[in-house]
């Protein structure tokens, strides 16, 4: 599988990744409507964290050993066997936020109006995730995950 990697040394925190993510998840696919008119407001699945000159965008890493799946109270979170992505079944999600408390990156986004959690699916219907495609500095790269991927998780052997 592929992942989005962040080259934080060239990220300037412009936030365009967030803008395009929100646009992607809007109904109108129109920037101004997406930001100012749509209700419920479309939500970006990623966020940009900044501190001084350090900035980078943060999204679901689809961890090999995903703590959110294990913590999920309803079974709404699971790994899609065909894509290896961590996916949420919005029908079964109650938006309780337990995944947000379990995630080391704090990325699960709570859609408070729909009472659902929403998350990054790496834009499965696009050639390239829109955040990567629209990063003006090439600070986001989409690359294959090497076999010996870093695991974020809890059970150690």
């Amino acid at each position: 599988m592929k992942k989005v990697y962040v080259k934080q040394d060239v990220c300037i925190g412009c936030g365009l990744c967030e803008v395009y993510c929100r646009l992607k998840h809007s109904r109108s696919k129109d920037l101004i409507k997406a930001y100012k008119k749509e209700t419920p407001r479309p939500l970006s699945r990623l966020r940009v964290d900044e501190s001084g000159i350090v900035s980078f965008s943060v999204r679901c890493q689809h961890c090999d050993d995903a703590p959110c799946i294990r913590a999920c109270l309803t079974g709404a979170l699971s790994r899609d066997p065909s894509t290896s992505l961590v996916v949420v079944d919005e029908e079964r999600c109650i938006g309780c936020g337990t995944c947000a408390l379990a995630c080391p990156l704090g990325v699960p986004k709570l859609d408070t109006s729909q009472k659902k959690m929403v998350k990054c699916d790496l834009c499965q219907d696009e050639e390239l995730p829109v955040c990567v495609a629209n990063c003006p500095n090439e600070a986001l790269v989409y690359a294959d995950v090497p076999d010996e991927i870093l695991k974020i998780g809890q059970v150690t052997t």
Partner: protein, 448 residues
Amino acid sequence: MAATRKIKYLIIGNSAGGIGAAEAIREVDKTGTITIVSDEPYPAYSRPLISEYLALPCPVEKMAYRQPDFYEKNNIKTLLGEGVVQVNPDKHTVKLENGTTLGWQKLLLATGGTPIFPEMEGNRLKGVFTFNKLDDAKAIDGFLNQHRGRVRAVVIGGGLIGASVTEALLKRNVEVTIVEMKDWVLNTILDEEASVFEAQALVHAGTNIITGHTPEKINSYLPGEVSGVTLDDGRVLPCEMVVIAIGVRPRLEVVSKSGIKINRGIVVDRRMATSAPDIYACGDAAEAHDFVYGENRLTPVWPNAYEGGRAAGLNMAGKPTEYQGGTAMNALKYFGVYIASAGLVTPPNDSYQTLINRYDGIYRKVIIKKGKLAGMVFAGDIEKSGIVYNLMKDGVNVRKFKEVLVADDFGLASLPESIWKDRLESSPPEGVPVVTSIEEPEELVIGD
């Protein structure tokens, strides 16, 4: 019975812990026989959803914790609706209520918890309920359906179960009074300040909350039926139903005569093994490692049951695995108020340091001891709570940057570089093709 005829993995309990174990076993052992036995007649369902069920009864399938083909696909045999009477560690058997004896090679006790039911006059009346499993929600639903006119309920206990049942009952147009013995609701998982967020939401939704009092007895004017509750100050609260929600305790009946070491729950080591060979325990029934206290404790929450079950399952299947430990952790959204808490919520003495920040209806608090996080409460916005929770779980020393944990603009970038780099997995791998933008960005779509 020959060893080969014995079930390789017998799991008592079909909820988070049992399923966590079964899934872990199948990662290691694809063929060894697994049997799950449970006294509940349903495929695994999400217990926290019983509140949603009571609010709006739906088919049980909608509450399923796993896909309908889960048991078949994983080759797991189920004995549902079958109670276990007793475990015999020496013979490696269990005896079922129907008289059958099952042999096993490895056994998991994922028996869960049972509501604490106080000795009180009137506690056996019709209209007195607990709220722990689907059948409890069904029983309350049936009771409400039979009643004409508005039902009044007294919920005894203002903890998680009390708040859950209250939210559901309000949606069913029941008038609810919560009676909480301590000074504030949700006192085991929230500090007083965060509790106010929930209490205001509860009151705003129409709940009456009485704190600092306990019920003396449940009254009955018509034989067998509830008519009200009398409190310790003599006050009488008229009602048609009572929900007892003062807590849960581990279900230990099946091991009571087995000689397995029990303290408050079944005592397990870091591999989730009990004092008896080949027997493991997890979930609400077990007393397992708590990483905040550094000792074994009961932490009856769903995610810990799954994690403990998972560690137990890996060990049962022969893959030595240490349970990293759990601590009390809860994310709540009663009445749209989002709160997350973990570990301690109020410092037990002055050897702890507390940092608090309040802004725009958001409340953040962390409790620190000897440089390490011992507790946290996030209210109003819980989206980045996981960053702090995992620092606590991993035992990271936060002394040098503790102030940022509660700051308005807190995020991963606020942490030392070594931590966010590790968490973010930020370096693209070397030697694999990378893709950035493949073409000129499309023209911005602006307006119509």
